[in-house]
């Protein structure tokens, strides 16, 4: 059996501060190339789970490993670099630096990920910038969008730029935190179609969270957060 894209085992995490929110996840596994949707109501700890998965916060106990690497074993600087190399991240909204151009936004993670930059540069003629332009075109962003400040785009366009940024350099894992919640139903459909196509082209696994169970049909697997993790509030106060 090949390494899983992402595994969590016996993980426990508590947000610092009084009455901190605690999440524990005994066992979770995401296979390579798998598309998984994680459902849960607002405040149930979905974003906390994703933060743990991509090492923005570190588990108090247990082990999070990505492609066989134990995140907890990395020093914090190395973990940041590792995240840049292995994860494409898409948030709910306000994904982009509004003052920077679309191109700079897409290329930003490459700044911290040399291997990913090399992949993006070698993806075709013209280097990383051409690859960014190709992704924009594939995501049906209008021509000439690359030089525009990201803050000028519509919300849907910004989300697609965020997808391009997540996909550039083909990171093995795409993590999306409710990327469609700001879009209407039709736009959601188009958006997910594009995301799936491009993730498949790049060969990336996809871990997406949402509170909207209508999206489930298009994924390989759908889980509810409470099936894989127990949450508590104020336990460790």
């Amino acid at each position: 059996m090949t390494d899983a894209a992402l595994t969590l085992s016996d993980v426990r995490f508590t947000w610092p501060g009084r009455g901190g929110f605690t999440l524990s996840c005994p066992d979770f596994r995401l296979a390579q190339g798998e598309r998984l949707l994680l459902l849960g109501p607002s405040g149930s700890g979905k974003s906390t789970f994703l933060s743990l998965a991509c090492g923005i916060v570190t588990a108090d106990a247990g082990k999070v490993s990505v492609g066989g690497t134990d995140l907890g074993a990395l020093r914090s600087g190395a973990r940041d670099g590792f995240r840049a190399e292995h994860f494409g991240l898409i948030f709910q909204q306000f994904n982009l630096l509004p003052y920077a151009s679309v191109a700079d936004n897409i290329l930003l993670p490459l700044r911290f990920a040399p291997a990913r930059r090399a992949r993006a540069t070698n993806a075709g003629a013209g280097g990383a910038r051409a690859e960014a332009a190709r992704l924009c075109a594939a995501l049906t962003l209008p021509d000439g969008v690359m030089a525009m400040p990201a803050g000028r785009l519509s919300v849907g366009q910004q989300q697609r730029v965020a997808v391009a940024r997540a996909l550039i350099g083909q990171p093995p894992l795409i993590v999306a935190d409710e990327p469609t919640s700001a879009l209407d139903a039709a736009a959601q459909d188009v958006f997910l179609g594009l995301l799936f196509d491009q993730a498949a082209t790049a060969g990336s696994s996809l871990l997406m969270v949402s509170h909207d169970d209508r999206l489930g049909a298009r994924f390989d697997r759908v889980l509810r957060l409470d099936e894989i993790a127990a949450t508590a509030r104020g336990v460790a106060a």
């Binding site: 923005i56 991240l89 948030f91 630096l97 920077a100």
Partner: protein, 416 residues
Amino acid sequence: MILRLAIGSLLARGLTVGMTVLAIALSVGLFVGVEKVRTGARDSFADTISGTDLIVGARSGSVQLLLYSVFRIGNATNNVTWESYLDIAARPEVDWIVPISLGDSHRQFRVMGTTQAFFERYRYRGGRALEMAQGHGLDDLYDAVIGADVAATLGYSVGDPIVVSHGLASFTDHADQPFRVAGIVARTGTPVDRTVIVSLEAIEAIHVDWQGGAQVPGRRTPVEAIREMDLTPTAITAALVGTESRLQIFGLQRWINTYPEEPLLAVLPGVALQELWQIVGVAETALVAVSAMVVVTALLGMMAMILSSLNERRREMAIWRAMGARPVTILGLLVLEAALMAALGALLGMALLYGALAMARPWIDASFGIWLPIDPPSAREVWVLASVIGGAALASLLPALRAYRMSLADGMMVRI
């Protein structure tokens, strides 16, 4: 790319950043401006007299002697008798000696009685001699030679009549003996520009009918009679002395300072200037300190601006972190932004300063007799600019550390 993004982020907050940069620019301009005026004033003072080995006057303070004899600031408390003057002039060490007699005025300008030797011996700015812009020197008893400022301010040209007033701020004129402008000295940037020069004999002549500082009532000696009189002065205010050899300066100085007939004082102009700087130094230091505080205030303002912007930029920081930027990178980013603002402010401040200098220079020269040079920034000024930028980076460390901690604690979902 990071630099480009930092600049983009600054531009996006154009107004607040602009105000901060302006505050830094003004403070830097003020600080360097104070420096420039300070050194300019020093140089201009030091340039006022050169080639004179000793200044001799009645015994008082050496700074006082320097100020009244060379800079026409303040007054002599006592005179030097003509006999003492002749004794000094007769010393073998003395190469040349120029007597100076002060005490009268014309409008706001002082009148100085001296001899033709003044025009030959007086040197300024590293040995430059006086030159006539118009006319000639003192030929006739009632000839006056005026400085460039006198001519410009009062609109005089050669041939115009001048009436000398008695004392410095008095309403009694020597109206019965008018002078004639014989020549105008080319601009020197020294107090000579603001002086009316007449002969020693003329000073005697206008005081023929005066006794003890008041005109003798009813006495009016006709000009023709005065021209026939012996107009050798009885006293002078001070004298400039040049020695045969520099080695003799101290010997001559000692001789004058221990002159038994009359308490006299001889000072080396350079030494007296040094003493003057020591007195002025305190005020200078205070001025520099105040303008340095203004720079510090501007930097504190920048710090407050960065701190208050942190909350609205939390999202931005979270994006950087999620993209793989380390907290140290966030810290570096904020420090870089601060350094950029300070650098821009420093450059703008220098530009403002040079602009202001170019415009105000003629006015400063006219009002204070200080000609400020427009030089490229001195090493000291470059150092000041560098420390402003360094100080800004340092001041930004506090907000940057806060951002660092925030970005560690926030995780990837910042609520807005």
